[in-house]
Amino acid sequence: MKVLLDWLQEFVPGVRSVEHLAERLSLAGLAATAASEAHAEADALELDLTSNRPDWLSHYGVAREIAAVCNVALQAWTAPALPAARGPVPVTLEDPLGCGRYCALLFENVRVADSKPAIAARLQRLDQRPINDIADLTNYTLWEMGHPTHVFDADTLRGHEIRVRRARKGEKLTTLDGVARTLDPADLVIADAERPIALAGVMGGEDTKVTAATRRVVLESAWFDPATVRQCARRHGLHTDASHRFERGADPEAALLAARLIAGRMASLGVRLLGGLGDARGHLPVPQPIPLRAAMIERMLGKAVEAEEASRSLRALGCEPLDSGRWLPPTWRPDLVREIDLVEEIARLHGYERFPARLPAFAGAAEPLPEAALRDRIRQQMRGRGFAEAVTISFASEAECARFAPEAAPVRVLNPLSQESAILRTSSLPAMLHALLENLHHGVAAPRLFEIGKNYQLAGSTPIEPRVLTLGAVAGGMDFPRLKGEVEAVLAAFALSLPAAEPASHACFHPGRSARFADAALFGQLHSELARAWKLPAETWLAEFALEPLYAAGPRPVAYQPPPRYPASDRDFSFQFNVGVTWAQVDQALRQPPIANLESAQPLDVYRGVGIGGGEYSLLIRARFQSPERTLRDDEVRAGADEIARRLRALGGAQR
């Protein structure tokens, strides 16, 4: 919000420099920056207001704060008394909870014209559009003293009466913004004898607005219940200067003052008061006494504030001292209710910088998150293997996620920013693909990324947020065995015994180059169709780990084995197999029944191509024989090697 220095000076004549004011106000809680306008004499303050201080929403309100903070005198209002008039405007208040007070005045001899230049200029400097002298008066008064008011063309009202009531089902009202609205029975409206003419505290009606033809007007100056106004404004998607103030809590004592101020200004336009004050009262909030203990000030602030200073601060803010240390807050401060509210006022006027700082001592041990060490170990591992850490957003397109996690029930956002962010992601893989793509677009040829994040879904009707690790790599020599090695390296850190890898059987992955380790990890090459659709290279590799079971298993405990003391003997075997024979079968054949002294058998090379018949492949296996007790004799190793060759032949292998 912007306030003008020359306008402030009408209430606090002593103030000069906006820079100085900005500094003082900011350090007292009213965030302000000096904003010099185009013409040098027209200094202004740009304010960043907090929602607890509706009393700052006008020049007078800001001046009142300046007076308290800078300890300068504040000009009191001189609102003229209302001139004599005929009987009061008839006002019926049917909803005393929604409307605490409704003041109405009837004026005649209206000749609608443009506002005087002084008024129009001020409104324009506040980025307000001058409309006509009558409407501008209400707006000017709003920016001056903070209370929203409204004028109706009196001759458009049916039945010449004002009723404040809830809307009836199906009632319609075209508001000043030109929108025809169907009203909700919870909407508080101003009505004439027949129909709604305004949304109370939000916006007036089109049919009853002041026009060039207007000769008589009804002025409304009321106090509406904050929650009622807020709900009505929200229902209708409206946010107006009036609703902004009423929903934060307008000053209940300001309604009559605003009416008198405007009446006085009407007179200067030649407008005459015809109908006297119609004044209906409902339930108005009444400030309650607040007890304040000096000990409380010291306990909360760590330093005693002199009673005299505390008292001066509270008085400067408009609080009245009562008996036995109690204070009565002013009507414009709905935020002052409790002892701590007064303590805060005393603290901010004392100056936060004047309280001594200390670093508190604590007993007891610091406690990291239980999984932090495991999580950080994965992060270090991945980085050490060349995967950069990414952070992607949690939102996703439902269509993208549905392909990767078809079974997950997504958590939907009711008010998403876009269709691309309509759900919380059920799979981290689309976000990873987007990140890989981003890199390819920028010419990073072989990106490798990992992310530790969450997926989100419904388990029944309960939202869950399982943590996941995601790997992504394009080209750069990545292939299935290397990716499997990455996956196994992650899993190896945890005390988890997983079955052998099984086919992934996942529609998003290459059917022959993807696998899973139970529910712990899914990995492989992106399906070629998806790669094409995403405009990604065929050599796009992904892995997603469920971290919850890994964290639950905890770190793999170290079980120390003394290194072997006696030398090992290695023997290599080159066999040719049908492609139907898998390594798992070979491995199983060599393990069961156990071969004496066979320490390990590893595939060294797998080759298909020139020199090997179609449907066949050659496999080079290195077997290692070793005994913990002694050096093996040649004949023992030879016997083991013969057994290996026999079993490989039994699997259909042909020795090369």
Partner: protein, 355 residues
């Protein structure tokens, strides 16, 4: 005629009594035979093997069985022979310097990049902030991102209908998830922590939070926050000041100054914003600090007694302070990153600068 290696080995394994050496000259002559054979030998192990080498055999068989009066001379002779053997094979092993010349490389060529990738800058900053508070004795806590309205608003003294609820541009969830929102701050974990523990409490809560903000250079619908909470008997405003001042100097360097400005949050009172003296101009005024000399860092305050009411802490006995900061904001300030979206792109040209 030098003896063969096998002959020498057998001779060296002979006990003293069979050698028939009668004078120092005989001994010198015998050792000379070994030296002569050494000149043409290329089998280092035959001489120096710990178990089977000639030098070892001489020590084991000649020296150990020699009469006492011979031992001194024999020992010196064997030592001299060992030195000669080692020198002979060391010379043989080391090619002449000019023989290595063709193997020289251009040492000014860049090193092959090692396989090491960076941690994410936001998470680096998160970890650093968390560790500052771990050193102060705080525990780390976390909570769900899909949070109930009760924890996100109600128990933080933000009742339905309060403008503070609307100011946060909340993302609501559903259908079937009435009462849930995407948490707008990490503050709900304050409540969850206080429900679980009695004072003294001191926790630091890193986590992802959400706002309905369209992405631009300074806004993202999700970002990271770190919340802090300390509750105990005898804590007061000065502890808040001291703790945050310590934090700012740990994070930005011991040269920075801090100040608290009154502000407003529903769940703290008194509330404040923490400013830090501009780290780029040391408070003299520059573009980054908009010539104010100060950079706004985070929101904080004493825990509002109403919040204690929700967790059944006695506000007459306990007091505490809380603070919350945006991690991206801290990273942007420190590294002068101009666009928050860079953090979420996965762009390696950006990420790799934060090694």
């Amino acid at each position: 005629m030098p003896k063969s290696a096998a002959e020498l080995a057998a001779w060296a394994a002979a006990p003293w009594a069979k050698l028939g050496l009668r004078s120092e000259a005989d001994l010198e002559a015998a050792l000379a035979e070994f030296r002569a054979a050494l000149a043409s030998s290329t089998d280092r192990d035959a001489w120096l093997s710990r178990s089977r080498g000639i030098v070892r055999a001489l020590t084991d068989h000649w020296l150990k069985t020699a009469p006492k009066e011979w031992k001194r001379a024999l020992g010196a002779g064997i030592n001299a022979l060992r030195d000669a053997v080692e020198a002979h094979f060391a010379a043989a092993a080391a090619p002449a310097a000019d023989a290595l010349a063709p193997e020289a490389v251009d040492i000014t060529l860049p090193g092959t990049p090692a396989l090491a990738a960076p941690a994410h800058p936001v998470l680096q900053v998160r970890d650093e902030i968390v560790s500052i508070f771990l050193r102060l004795g705080y525990a780390v806590a976390d909570g769900p991102e899909i949070e109930t309205v009760y924890y996100n608003f109600e128990a933080l003294n933000i009742p339905a209908g309060h403008p503070a609820r609307e100011e946060q541009d909340t993302l609501y969830l559903g259908p079937g998830l009435d009462g849930y929102v995407l948490r707008t701050h990490t503050s709900p974990v304050q409540i969850r922590t206080m429900e679980r523990r009695r004072p003294p409490v001191r926790v630091i809560v890193p986590g992802k939070v959400y706002r309905r903000d369209a992405p631009d250079a300074t806004h993202s619908p999700n970002f990271h926050q770190i919340e802090g909470l300390a509750v105990d008997e005898h804590l007061h405003f000065g502890d808040l000041k001291g703790t945050l001042d310590h934090f700012a100097r740990e994070f930005f360097g011991s040269g920075v100054r801090t100040r608290l400005r009154p502000s407003y949050f529903q769940f703290t009172e008194p509330s404040a914003e923490l400013d830090v003296s501009c780290i780029f101009c040391s408070g003299r005024g520059c573009r980054t600090c908009k010539h104010s000399g100060w950079i706004e860092l985070l929101g904080c305050g004493l825990v509002d007694p109403a919040v204690f009411g929700f967790v059944d802490y006695d506000p007459e006995r306990f007091a505490g302070f809380a603070f919350g900061m945006g991690v991206e904001r801290m990273a942007m300030i420190r590294y002068q990153v101009d666009d928050i979206q860079r953090f979420y792109s996965g762009d390696l040209r950006f990420l790799e600068q934060f090694r």
